[in-house]
């Protein structure tokens, strides 16, 4: 496609990204199991952030209950594995499908709600699911204890149990997801999502089936979150409702906005801020979260477009400062 400045820049950017990716491949061999594990959890957050970014960033739907889909994936894996003994490797895609399916069923009746009404409903769905998991209605979810004894994934003779295995599992899945999202961003579907975010009425007048496109985004986002949940379940081997609270949803929401709506590198930066900043502030001891809250405000005030906004935003902000 024709974007003159981009064409010139492309080889250099490709090189930078290539080198960065190479570093990711070498990382676990140099870092030791602890940091590999830290990176794995970070990767799971990136995956969750990317999945929410489809809904919030690309389509502009306010979803503050994303942890519900994450939980659905984790519990699908947990329950099917411990009750029926289905190998967890198969459950990776199954969890995605189940979470996506629930995403469809749950959001279909509410997809027409605007902005903040959708926001409270997604919060409600998150809470309904969490409380249901705790109350353990059919003895499936283990109540507040959750599901335990989830088996590791097995690929032929390889059991995915060491930190480095999980690291590469997450890296592979995340890479795939990034490729999928990049391609979607530059497709008819991705553009349609952006049109809806920019102006729903105009998008509809342009012949975009707004309802279906919104649902598609929700289903895809839910399915990816479900896959992240499945990985989390086999990594932890035990899952409980307290990992899927409203607070978790807020963290994910913040990751997307802080990084920059609709921006894939933004999600990575946002996850890093939300996970690493509290650790860096550790020296401040009890003042840690105080600084963290203040930092959130300061970051938004000085970079309302996010830390690494998608290219269009940069373009626009650049213009505005020129004026």
């Amino acid at each position: 496609m024709e974007m003159v400045s981009e064409a010139k820049e492309l080889p250099r950017r490709r090189l930078i990204y290539g080198v960065l990716y190479l570093l990711l491949l070498i990382f676990p061999f140099k870092a030791g199991p602890y940091w590999t594990d830290v990176a794995t959890f970070f990767g799971i957050y990136v995956l969750l952030g990317l999945s929410l970014n489809i809904i919030v960033g690309e389509v502009g739907l306010f979803n503050m209950g994303h942890a519900a889909f994450y939980a659905l994936g984790a519990y699908t894996t947990g329950i099917l594995n411990t009750v029926w003994g289905i190998p967890t490797i198969w459950l990776l895609p199954v969890s995605g499908l189940v979470a996506g399916g629930f995403g469809y069923i749950l959001t279909r009746p509410i997809i027409h709600l605007r902005g903040d009404y959708l926001l409270i409903v997604t919060i409600g769905l998150n809470e309904i699911l969490r409380i249901t998991l705790i109350n353990d209605p059919w003895g499936l979810t283990g109540g507040p204890n959750g599901v335990l004894g989830i088996k590791r994934m097995r690929l032929g003779s390889l059991v995915i149990n060491r930190p480095i295995h999980f690291y590469f599992l997450v890296l592979i899945v995340t890479t795939l997801v990034v490729v999928v999202l990049l391609r979607l961003q530059r497709s008819r579907i991705g553009r349609a999502w952006n049109y809806i975010r920019e102006d729903e009425v105009a998008a509809e007048a342009m012949g975009i089936d707004v309802r279906s496109m919104k649902l598609l985004a929700f289903v895809l986002g839910a399915a990816l979150a479900g896959i992240a949940g499945s990985i989390y379940a086999t990594k932890m081997m035990i899952i409980s409702p307290e990992s899927f609270t409203f607070w978790e949803s807020i963290v994910l929401f913040t990751i997307v906005i802080l990084g920059g709506m609709g921006s894939i590198p933004g999600v990575i930066v946002g996850s890093a801020v939300m996970m690493v900043l509290p650790e860096l502030l550790r020296d401040f001891m009890q003042y840690r979260m105080l600084f963290f809250g203040a930092a959130m405000v300061v970051m938004m005030v000085f970079r309302p477009q996010g830390l690494w906004p998608s290219k269009r935003w940069q373009l626009e902000m650049g213009r505005e400062t020129e004026e």
């Binding site: 049109y195 009425v201 012949g207």
Partner: protein, 264 residues
Amino acid sequence: MEQPLLQVIGVRKAFGGLLAVNDVDFWVPEGQIASLIGPNGAGKTTVFNLITGIESPDAGKIMFAGRDITGCPPHVITRAGIARTFQTLRLFPNLTCLENVMAGQHVRTKAGLFSSVLRTSRQQEEERRIYEAARRCLDKVGLWHLRAELAKNLSYGDQRLLEIARALATEPSLLILDEPASGLNNVETARLMDLIRQIRDEGITILLIEHDMDVVMGISEWITVLDNGRKIGQGTPEDIQENEEVIVAYLGKEEEDFSWNSCN
């Protein structure tokens, strides 16, 4: 007379107790520039919304190209071949002009989730087609050089043109323009009128809602007049200018609301 492309038959719409559109019948002949005029509150915009599917009528029928489109959702109507612009501009402000116009091609293409992810040769071919179509439409309104610009950074007149380009990209057989000349200066208005004629010449039927009587009388070949939610006249510009009921309706209105020549 030409075949009617669009036929509105006995359409009625009420909001609460207010009857906004009352038994309106009119048609738009194919291949012509038609206008829908009337004083403020006459029900023009409501008729518009009924045709484009944003509202559905309480009674009556809307036929387009021999097809009943009554109550269809907007995206179906757009697919059927009706495109529109908005009175208050509704572009996608944070997207580039090119992307804005590419939106129009959405209904003319099919690539789904999987072919987009897999980048099938078919999808790639389609993307090229979308790009080419967008390029043609931008060229037509003379905005190709601004393709990488964000829509919100365009001048007001250019934004109007961009909306028309976007509507054209849906490859419509009927293009509905909602007050396209409002806010434009004389030069821009003249250019706009040329553009509208040029579009007509390419075989696209045009329906105009317009306040600017110079524009309406200057380019319309077929005019429908609404007042108080009812149709009070239909015909060629000459017919309308001689129509007693129309004259009474307009003379009865206050000056600021409407006047034949105040726009000069």
